[in-house]
């Protein structure tokens, strides 16, 4: 780790261990004495929450897989009958896992927007950000595979629609896209073979995520945390040890987060779900409205905003890949939006834009708003939103960074903290 290790083994055994496998030293330096900026605010608690949520999802997922059967004839019954009715606390484990996925995404979105607002992707934290984008992409893949497993109507048709995106490649290289979809399905349509492999991948990917999370934390601990001021730590007066200051703070907010999470589990377990997924998959009947899970809605809106299939898919893919370029698209020398009056506004419009896209994604394809006499088809709103999404990253970010007059930065974290004189 970047800071001087202060770990001193006290017993004979720990001295012996320290010379062979300094694992206690690693934990001590990473999560106990790790110097953390003393001004981290509420928005910084979500990293810890996400780590815990990953553990919750892996543990609940492993126990669910003890009862789940990845077979097209049996999958629905293994979830809705065996797990939900017969297994002791099966209903609780299933609702934890299903709602946990939504809460995981809720936390990751706050975490990403926080990173954008405080410029946490800027040098020297580019790798940290890119690893985070990889985690996000892996999460989306994992969530998608997981949503297929209960083998309800939405599972089946969601899988059909998303995997069919690959058939857009046919418009570039004839038949290649179709060949890829058949390869993905192991059949001429989503079926038993598809379910089996999606289960395998759904079990595998969380461990890949855990590995990348390890790299993400490693990449965090080399330069150390960014902070709401976006200025570098200048010395020990700017930091506090991670334990107990941030363990207790993260712990407190984690319990609040769990109150919300378990509130859904116990009192609105189907809030994020879709009634159609309580109907067993039927390859002959498509539900009237195919809606992805809420956390994918903004991208779904962008996909539907484009009339061309191929371009729609390309827009979808590039909206995600764009995130990888963010560290180099932002040309500003100042990290935090606190000192970037223009960027701050653009950021909040971007947040509103993502919510708007999510809203449009949840509506039917032909929905429209009526303002007086005028009719505004939502697809146009989605197009505007898509335009802003890309414009924000590819035009505004590089341009504003150079042009913007930023507010003066404080001397140091400690000085800023003192000057404010308490909260």
């Amino acid at each position: 780790m970047a800071h001087q290790s202060s770990y001193v083994p006290k017993t004979g055994f720990t001295r012996w261990l320290d010379q062979r496998l300094p694992i206690i030293r690693l934990v001590n330096d990473s999560f106990v004495t790790y110097p953390t900026p003393r001004n981290l605010n509420f928005w910084y608690v979500f990293g810890g929450i996400l780590t815990v949520m990953l553990v919750v999802q892996i543990v609940s997922g492993i126990v669910l897989s003890m009862h789940y059967v990845p077979n097209a004839d049996l999958a629905f019954g293994s979830v809705e009958q065996r797990i939900m009715r017969e297994v002791n606390y099966g209903w609780l484990l299933r609702y934890i896992h299903a709602n946990g996925a939504s809460m995981f995404f809720l936390a990751v979105y706050v975490h990403i927007f926080r990173g954008l607002y405080y410029g946490s992707y800027k040098a020297p934290r580019e790798i940290l950000w890119i690893l985070g984008v990889f985690i996000y992409l892996l999460m989306m893949a994992t969530a998608f595979f997981g949503y297929v497993l209960p083998w309800g109507q939405m599972s089946f048709w969601g899988a059909t629609v998303i995997t069919s995106l690959f058939s857009a490649i046919d418009q570039v290289i004839p038949n290649l896209g179709t060949a890829i979809t058949h390869w993905l399905w192991g059949d001429f349509a989503v079926g038993d073979a598809t379910l089996n492999r999606f289960f395998s991948l759904h079990y595998l990917l969380p461990f890949v995520i855990a590995g990348v999370v390890g790299l993400h934390i490693w990449a965090l601990h080399v330069p150390g945390n960014n902070n709401p001021l976006g200025i570098d730590v200048k010395g020990p007066q700017d930091t506090v040890p991670f334990h107990p200051f941030y363990t207790v703070k993260d712990g407190f907010y984690m319990v609040l987060f769990f109150l919300v999470f378990l509130g859904f589990v116990f009192y609105a377990p189907n809030f994020f779900g879709n009634p159609d997924n309580y109907i067993q998959a039927n390859p002959l009947v498509t539900p009237t409205d195919i809606v992805p899970e809420w956390y994918l809605l903004p991208f779904y809106a962008m996909l539907r905003a484009i009339p061309s299939k191929l371009i729609g898919v390309l827009v979808l893919v590039s909206s995600l890949l764009t995130l990888l370029a963010v560290p180099w698209l932002d040309t500003s020398k100042v990290r935090s939006c606190r000192f970037r009056p223009l960027m701050k506004q653009l950021f909040w419009i971007f947040v509103a834009d993502c919510i708007l896209l999510g809203y449009v994604g949840a509506q039917t394809a032909d929905a429209a708003w009526h303002v007086g006499e005028a009719e505004l088809p939502l697809v146009w709103l989605a197009r505007l939103g898509t335009l802003y999404y890309f414009g924000f990253f590819w035009v505004l970010m590089p341009w504003i960074g150079k042009k913007e007059v930023t507010r003066p930065l404080p001397e140091s974290i400690a000085q800023s903290v003192l000057a404010k004189g308490g909260h």
Partner: protein, 188 residues
């Protein structure tokens, strides 16, 4: 401890209480994750079965499946009953009846091994390491006691299902059962 020489302070108490509450919470939360591996309600609903044994001939054994294990129902001949009665319990390797319908300390007399002497109902799981013993008949004798022989490690049982020779430590278990009719048995 912050200052081991002094009494715990109010602040220590707060931290200890917080840590204890968190530990208790994690402990309680672990229970659903453990309990989910126990038999499900569907399995428990199958824990009790009712069988009709009218078709079994004297000297014949029929195997039913009960709680995932073989269940031997043997209609004993008078000769087999007499052979089992001739052995004093004190000569047996396992002197206890192992009958779920009697007390744990009941001796392994033949009378204590069945409800009606003609019908012997035992769980077909060798008490050594869980193999299924093979039934002995006059046409195809298995072992030298006329009951069962477990081919895994050579345990021999007599016509009351009691262990007589070999590594098995206990007599074959008699499950909880009752006659609901002359030839109807409810097991479990």
């Amino acid at each position: 401890m912050a200052n081991a020489s002094t009494e715990p302070t109010r602040r220590d108490f707060l931290y200890i209480a917080t840590g204890a509450a968190a530990t208790v919470g994690v402990g309680l939360a672990a229970w659903p994750f453990i309990d989910q591996m126990n038999p499900t309600s569907a399995v428990l609903a199958m824990a009790s079965i009712e069988v009709d044994v009218a078709a079994i001939q004297p000297g014949q054994q029929v195997i039913f499946k009960w709680r995932g294990h073989p269940l031997f129902v043997r209609r004993r001949t008078p000769k087999e009953i007499a052979a089992a009665r001739a052995v004093p319990p004190s000569d047996l390797p396992d002197g206890l009846a192992r009958n779920a319908n009697l007390s744990d300390s009941a001796p392994a007399t033949d009378a204590n091994r069945s409800i009606k002497p003609e019908w012997l109902v035992v769980v077909g799981v060798c008490t050594h390491l869980g193999c299924t013993p093979t039934v002995s008949t006059p046409q195809s004798p298995q072992g030298s006691y006329g009951g069962w022989l477990c081919h895994c490690h050579g345990s021999e049982y007599d016509t009351a299902g009691r262990i007589r020779k070999g590594p098995a430590p206990q007599n074959l278990a008699v499950p909880p059962y009752a006659f609901t009719g002359p030839t109807k048995i409810k097991i479990g």
